[in-house]
Symmetry: C2
Subunit: 281 residues, 2 copies
């Protein structure tokens, strides 16, 4: 649901991986990120999945920058193998070189030392594959990964911030919660969301529907949804109103205005109209 | 996984709906379609999710056409309500008008008559909202929906075919299987896929890994994956080779060539190398 006139911090989510395009894996990362971002008051405008291909990744990044979003979050393609190409794609889109980042290298050293000491890997050596994860697009800042090897990456390009996260869900969540969410919260435009529920009794949904349609077209800044059901053979419609604005008063006023119109309509149609307590009955 | 040099019928999948961008709903349609398309020998190049917004839908369609894919499949946004905007978005991208399609109207008439006779809806009348689903971009052909109301739509634009499907999974699957899959099968470039499994014993994965990396870079047309595990304290690595080509012989030859190189490598490293029967042990 979207509210015209509401200024929101805007996001694009980019997922990288042939395994998703081949239908082998369900992309649950995007939903998780979108849920988090939406609940904070941000707005996801696009989700794009591309393959492990430098040009395709660069295309997705460039289109996102062009669309003017505030944040671009990629997931996948950060690992040590030859087909982990996200940072190369980002570098290409931004026309930057990949350079060795000392802090990222330090993170990797500590990580592999620890894995070695715990007997998980046979050698702590920073092989070329492992060092690859410390090659960031120039200006990139590594983001600590507490549960896996590949650090996340944070970059700026004009007004957009680009965050690259690993595709492994536990690693993505760890970096997002610890390193990214605090930054997003600071950058968020204030959004106030007001939700109210009402019930209409004794009016058929098919009679109410055309009136709701007109109400909606006149109030694009309020989300109006009807949830009809039968109760003891009688029509009962729960009506949900949501508005959001950059000021609380504005959101409240809009919902109240629509609630009054709704009340009039329901009573004109011979029904009863009353508020329901609580957020979502 | 992708095979350079392999000519494949290419697809973009576009999902329409704020409920996905808001993280309320997991997009399972794209995975289902991708799995189907991949198993037929097609290739999904991009998945894009946009909101219920004419310009955003048009952007996704235009970018897909620009990228030269053979098929564009949209899901969602075909219903009767004011925020079902997919066909308007497609019409805008193709610079076509929405016109009333007689066959689509006929389908809707039959559908609502049936729902009415079964006592599910109070009137079979084709209200403006219901008629809206018969307004197709000029040149569009309706696709029969056996389990819901909104017909699917098939369009051509240059070499690309555009299919619009409802977002309700059962409806999407019904139209896809009955009306779309047969057309796709006819349009598919022939692809032969060859998969072989081998096992290497007595070689550590960390020793084998750098050799595999070189083998991969020299054979981009063969997918080489190692699945290491320990068996009675001894390293056992299952090796999976896949190739695909427009001719069966070519795919077989490529896999065999890599299998021979692999055998040499494993024996050089002092291990044993043998084929595994069956497709995926």
């Amino acid at each position: 649901m979207r509210f015209p006139g509401l200024r929101q911090t805007r996001f694009n989510l980019i997922t990288v991986g042939y395994e998703i395009l081949d239908g082998k894996i369900l992309d649950t990362n995007s939903k998780w990120l979108a849920e988090r971002i939406t609940s904070m008051g941000g707005r996801v405008d696009r989700m794009i999945t591309v393959g492990d291909d430098v040009d395709e990744i660069a295309w997705a990044i460039r289109e996102s920058i062009k669309s003017g979003v505030d944040w671009i979050i990629t997931s996948g393609g950060l690992g040590p193998t030859y087909d982990d190409l996200t940072l190369r794609g980002v570098a290409k889109a931004l026309k930057r070189k990949l350079v060795l980042n000392r802090r990222a290298l330090e993170m990797l050293k500590i990580r592999y030392k620890e894995l070695y000491e715990r007997g998980i890997i046979p050698s702590p050596e920073l092989t070329p594959q492992r060092r690859k994860m410390a090659m960031l697009p120039r200006g990139g800042k590594p983001l600590r990964n507490e549960v896996g090897s590949a650090p996340g990456v944070l970059l700026r390009s004009g007004r957009a911030r680009i965050v690259c996260l690993p595709g492994v869900p536990s690693e993505l969540k760890n970096i997002f919660e610890n390193e990214v969410e605090p930054l997003i919260r600071k950058s968020l435009k204030k959004v106030f969301r007001v939700e109210r529920w009402f019930e209409a009794r004794g009016v058929a949904e098919s009679t109410l529907a055309p009136r709701l349609e007109i109400l909606r077209s006149r109030n694009p800044d309020v989300y109006i949804k009807s949830h009809p059901r039968m109760e003891e053979g009688r029509s009962m419609i729960r009506l949900q109103l949501i508005s959001a604005a950059n000021r609380l008063k504005a959101a409240e006023r809009r919902v109240e205005k629509v609630a009054e119109s709704l009340k009039k309509i329901v009573m004109e149609l011979g029904g009863e109209f009353s508020p329901i307590r609580g957020d979502e009955p």
